[in-house]
Structures are given as structure tokens and as C-alpha cells.
């Protein structure tokens, strides 16, 4: 054990953490979680620690396992939609949408144009809400409490909007196969525009309060660097992969819905403010994506067709019984690629098999690599930057 403990960790800045060979003593097993404030739920990390240095960390999952995939085999297709809400409970709209894309692909149905715009708008609103939680809780992980409450204050406005549209605050069941549950309320677009105008200065405020804070930068810059090739090998996606400098966004690279018509950028860190691939880059990508989502929402408002003679359920099938076959569809969720693989036997109204490719689960798989030789406070910073939602990791 003593030999294993003798490691040397060097950092990019002038802080060098050196553990001398002679000082290395017995390692201590430190169980971080499942009830720990900064594991974002019920994740358990078994860390071997040498003083404050983590020599290895092994994630243990499954505390929140709810048999999503088994449930899918006994529930009919539309009945699965509420279950997808509960996977990544911070981004219900996006989950539902990804699932509906898969079933619609299997059924091969045409979606009304207004429905597409409504879906884009609500899921981009939900993306902002999700990133606000990610950024806010990341602040808490690093000891900054106030940004968290600022984020939740602004998220509240989004939740109110989505509640107005769907009737629920987090678990919406709004995006249905072939349509949406209800048309958006009469003044919804006006209110969304008001929110966009309100929120733009708040993004800047958040930037000044947290992202540009000297201590915050010191805590995140150069920590947990993930090179682009390793990130691709780990099948990372979403802000995690973009944080490593890979310009990969399914809304652009594998476009679905009306995204090709919309004008937005895919923010990728340029390495000036942060080191590419570190925790700060991942945080930065999320912060910049919120502004891009605001742009998308504004375009949706102006391009959305009118509601005259519009029935949000016009394309919703009475009975979902797809032909025998299989389909894989994916969508860009706030946490990365959420994919659904669905197999149909052609006879039943229930899927034969439904597998969810969870972005959080895949992103978390790199934890062992990232945590090697980090200090405990840095381990917290890294977990926070992965932005896991255990509901989706365990499903």
C-alpha cells in the first residue's frame, strides 16, 4: 500500500502538490456518498485517499434504479412518455421529445409545423432551466451560494411558463407522439419574449458574479482536463464533449425537427479564457449555450405559424401499433445525446424492447480516469462539471 501512495501531482499553475515517497502512509478508504451534499443525488464514490489526494475513485450506481426499460415493455407507447420525464427530471421536455422522435420515426408520421416550433421552444426553455441548475449547483460545489439562488430565481420564470403551457412544473407529459398535449396559451409567445428580454442581462450578471470570479477560475481552470480524443473514446456528448473542443451538436450534426432553419452557434471554448477540456470549459459551454438558446427561442417566436385552425393533436395516432422493426433516434439534450432504441414486433401496442442511451451515464463513465490523483476539492469540482442527474444515470 505504501508504494501505491507515493504519487506526484503537478498542476499547470505554480501550485504543485507533491507527496514525497517517505511521507506516504497507509491509504484511507473514503466513501463519498450516497448521502453527500455534492454528489448531486445518490451517487456513491469509493475513493482511496492518500491525505487529501484521491488515488482512485470508483463510482457505484443504482441507488435510483427504477426499471425504466422493463416498465417500457409493459406500458403502451404513449404511456411511456411520462416515464421519460422522470429520467432526467430537470429536462422533461427534451426527454419526451427524444422519445417521441423515435416513435414517430418508427410510425413514419408527419408532424404539423407549428407543433415542431412549439417543441423547439419549450425544449430550449427547458434547456436554459437545466443549465441554470447545472451552473447554480456548480457554484454551490465550489462554495458560492448566491449564484445558485440567482439561477433558481430565473429558472422559476421558466417553470412558470412551462406550467402555463403544460400544467406541470417539472414532469410535463406535454410532448406527445405526433403532437403536443395542448396548444400554447394565447399570450404565451409574448410572455416568452418578455422572459428573453428579462433574462439576457441576467446571463451577463451571472457571468460577472461567477464565471469571471478570480477564485472560481482558480478552482476550475486546468482541473480535470479531458483531451478530445479520450472524450470521443468515452462517447462523451453534449457540453462535455464541446468543452473538450469538439464541435459536435446533434442539432447541427444530425439535424432533426426545424433546427436547420434556425440560426444559432455551437459554442466551443477557444482556450483563451480556459484550458480546453477542463472544468471551466465545460462550465463556459453551458453558460454560452444559454444565450444561444435565447436566440433560438426568439427565432421560434417570429417564425412560428399562427394558431388558426390548428389542432395540436391532429397527427396524434389513436392507437400506436408500429410495423415490426427497430429504430434508434437521438436528440441533443442539455446533458448530451439522449438516444432511444425501440424494437417493435408489429403486433403489440407495447414496445418489445426500449433502451435509453443516457448521456449522464456515459459521461460519468470517465470518472475513474478524471479523478486519478486529484485533491478531494477538485474531485467535487469535477463531479459538478460533469453535471449528472442520477435519475438519468440509473433510470
Amino acid at each position: 500500500m505504501a508504494e501505491q501512495g507515493s504519487i506526484r501531482v503537478s498542476r499547470k499553475d505554480d501550485n504543485v502538490v507533491v507527496i514525497e515517497k517517505d511521507l506516504a502512509t497507509e491509504e484511507m478508504l473514503l466513501s463519498m456518498g450516497p448521502q453527500h451534499p455534492s454528489t448531486h443525488g445518490v451517487l456513491k464514490l469509493e475513493c482511496m485517499t492518500d491525505g487529501e489526494v484521491v488515488t482512485s475513485a470508483e463510482p457505484y450506481l443504482g441507488y435510483l434504479h427504477r426499471c425504466f426499460e422493463k416498465h417500457c415493455e409493459v406500458v403502451d407507447y404513449p404511456g411511456i412518455v411520462p416515464y421519460t420525464d422522470r429520467m432526467d427530471y430537470l429536462t422533461g421536455m427534451n426527454n419526451e421529445w427524444a422519445y417521441c422522435i423515435a416513435v414517430e420515426k418508427l410510425l413514419d408520421i408527419e408532424i404539423p409545423r407549428r407543433v415542431e416550433f412549439i417543441r423547439v421552444m419549450v425544449s430550449e426553455l427547458n434547456r436554459i432551466a437545466s443549465h441554470l441548475v447545472a451552473i447554480g449547483t456548480y457554484g454551490i460545489d465550489l462554495g458560492a451560494f448566491t449564484p445558485f439562488l440567482f439561477c433558481f430565481r430565473d429558472r422559476e420564470h421558466i417553470l412558470n411558463l412551462l406550467e402555463w403551457a403544460s400544467g406541470a412544473r417539472m414532469l410535463y407529459n406535454y410532448v406527445w407522439i405526433g403532437g403536443v398535449a395542448f396548444d400554447i396559451p394565447a399570450d404565451f409567445n409574448k410572455r416568452v419574449k418578455e422572459f428573453v428580454d428579462y433574462f439576457r442581462p441576467k446571463v451577463v450578471e451571472l457571468y460577472k458574479l461567477l464565471t469571471e470570479n478570480e477564485i472560481f477560475v482558480k478552482r476550475t481552470k486546468g482541473i480535470g482536463i479531458m483531451p478530445a480524443d479520450v472524450a470521443i473514446n468515452y462517447a462523451w456528448s453534449g457540453p462535455m464533449l464541446r468543452g473538450s473542443g469538439v464541435k459536435w451538436d446533434l442539432r447541427r450534426n444530425d439535424p432533426y425537427s426545424v433546427y436547420p432553419e434556425l440560426d444559432f452557434n455551437v459554442p466551443v471554448p477557444d482556450g483563451k479564457f480556459s484550458d480546453v477540456g477542463d472544468c471551466l470549459s465545460r462550465h463556459l459551454v453551458r453558460a454560452l449555450e444559454m444565450e444561444e438558446s435565447l436566440n433560438i427561442i426568439e427565432q421560434c417566436i417570429s417564425k412560428m405559424p399562427g394558431s388558426e385552425g390548428f389542432n395540436p393533436r391532429s397527427a396524434v395516432p389513436k392507437r400506436v401499433r408500429p410495423k415490426a422493426g427497430e429504430v434508434y433516434a437521438r436528440a441533443e439534450n442539455p446533458r448530451g445525446e439522449l438516444g432511444f432504441y425501440i424494437q417493435s414486433d408489429g403486433k403489440s401496442t407495447k414496445p418489445l424492447r426500449c433502451k435509453a442511451r443516457s448521456s449522464c451515464f456515459v459521461n460519468l463513465s470517465a470518472m475513474k480516469d478524471l479523478s486519478k490523483g486529484q485533491l478531494i476539492p477538485d474531485l467535487v469540482a469535477i463531479i459538478g462539471s460533469i453535471d449528472i442527474v442520477l435519475g438519468e444515470v440509473d433510470r
Binding site: 465550489l142 462554495g143 458560492a144 451560494f145 448566491t146 440567482f150 458574479l209 477564485i215
Partner: protein, 372 residues
Amino acid sequence: MSIAAISQIRLPFLMGNNLNAWSDALAGLTLSWFPLGLVIIAAIPLVFIALYALTYGVYGERKISAFMQDRLGPMEVGKWGILQTLADILKLLQKEDIVPTSADKFLFVVGPGILFVGSFLAFAVLPFSPAFIGANLNVGLFYAIGIVALEVVGILAAGWGSNNKWSLYGAVRSVAQIVSYEIPAAIALLCGAMMAGTLDMQQINVLQSGPYGFAHFYLFQSPIAWLPFLIYFIASLAETNRAPFDIPEAESELVAGYFTEYSGMKFAVIFLAEYGSMFMVSAIISIVFLGGWNSPLPNLGSVALYDWTSGPVWGAFWIISKGFFFIFVQMWLRWTLPRLRVDQLMYLCWKVLTPFAFISFVLTAIWEIYVP
């Protein structure tokens, strides 16, 4: 105590501006053999901290953080939630006093006590008014610096006795932090002591009084004084484990650091000690650099603001206000800044604050010798 003895003791608040008049009068008060006055002297700061720290410190912290975060804070108990802390104390009193089975019971119980005593003992030498000081030691400042180190023992006892890995991490971090930061803090205070030429807390205040109010404060008496002032302020944040140096508690890393296992009244005592030391360091910084109980208002010709706002009662007002101001700054920082990493904290202490403290020490010495 005979009736004659009572008639000899004048009521303290009627006394003039004689130095330590109140506390000397109280010290002479005995009930036959029992030194009643000394007990009262000891009780006054205790009541003050207990009232201040547990009621208004916590309430203030919650309200200030609420205003910074677009919230209302406690609003239910009493008008604007002003009795919220009392309700919390009642709740803590009712709680079961849990000692974990695998804990070292003696250390676990004794830890919060030592911690509390450590932060409370320094109040003995704080001059709360020109007429009141608990113990007028001629090495008061030295005593105040030294006695804080007792907290380290309490923290280590609490962390080790809890038999919890997170507590142990918190305790070890805390000890390293407090012991390290005492060095720049002490050197910074020595700059003030050098300007005064004494370690007597009451004397340091007397030397900063004058008709021009704030202009007599040591912060404005020398062009270098702002450096030890800042160094001491930063170091005192670290000594009291306040953000951005709250690494020993670091709720997102170490759950709650050395007091993870504490609940009920023991937790309240640790809390009390934290708020007690917050006021203590705030009082020390205002005594050494900002004139303590001296009024900051200057005499402007016939408008004798300084004279009008000086005196034993005004003195108590000024030092407590100055203390509250620094506590407000501490809270302000806590709710604005993220937390440093443990090695960055040590870097700041040993490679930034300590060298600058030495520089300011030498510069102050040169200033004191060559500039009359």
C-alpha cells in the same frame, strides 16, 4: 456587603470618563467573601455574545444573505421573523443529545466546550468602552492573539472524537489553517502595537483619541497601515473559518467538517463559538486600526461632533458598531465569493500574506523611527 459599602459605590453609568471606571467599580463589588462584581464582569460579555451571536448575528446573517439573494429570509416568527433565532434555539434545546456510539465520548463532549472557551476568553481583554474592560492586562493584545489558539485544540478534539473521516479531514484542515494564519495575523497586529508602543488594549485606544476623530486612527496615521489592516482582515477570515476560507466546514466537500456529527445544543455551542470569534476579530481589528471606542466624527470648529459623541456609553456604541460593520463585511464576502482550495489557501498564507506582513512590519518600523 454593608449598607455603607453600597453608598460608597456610585452607580457606574453616572461616573465620568475615568478609564475603566465601570469595570473597576464592579470589580470592587463583593458580597461578603463572594466576588460578585467579577462574576458580573465575566457575565456581561457572555450575555452580550449570547444575545448578539445567537440572536442578531444569526438573524443578521440570514437577513443579509436573503437581501443579497433576492429572497425575504425568515418572515414568519415575529415581525420580519425577528424571533426566528429564538425559535431555533428552543428547537435545538429540545433535541436529543446524541453521542455516536463509536465516538470518543470524552473528546466529543469536551471539544465544543474548549472551542467556546477559546473564542470567549479573548473577550476578557476587549475594551467595550473607555470605562469598561474585563481584565486590563498590559499584554492584552498578545493575550488575545494567543488565546485564540485554544480553539485549535477544541476543533481537533471535536474532529478526532467524532470518529468520522469527514470530521477528521475538517479538523486537520482547520488546525493547519488556523495555525498558519496566526502568523500573518500576529505580525499585522504587531504593526499596530508598534505604532502604539504598547500591548495594552485600553491604552491603544486612548492613544487613538483626539479631536479630529478618525484622523487619529492608526489606519490613517501612517501611509503603510492599510497593508497590515488588510492582511489582518484576510487572516482573521481564515482564523474564524469564514468564507472564502471556510475550508474546514466546506459543506460541499466535507459535509460539515469537524462538526458533522454534532447536533442539538453541542452544535449550538459550536455555532455560538463561531459567531463569538467573528465579533472578537472584528473588535480587535477596530481596536488596533480604527480607534476602538473612539468616535470617528471630528470636531468641526464650533460643531464639536467628537466631543458630543464621546463618553463611556458612546464608546460602547462605537466599538460595537465598528464590530458589526466588519461582521457585515464578513457576511458580504461569504455570500459573494466561492471557496478556495486547501493548497491555494496555504499558498496565500505562506507565500503572499506572510511576506507582505513582514514587509509592512519593517516599513512601519521605519516610519515610526524616522517620521515623527
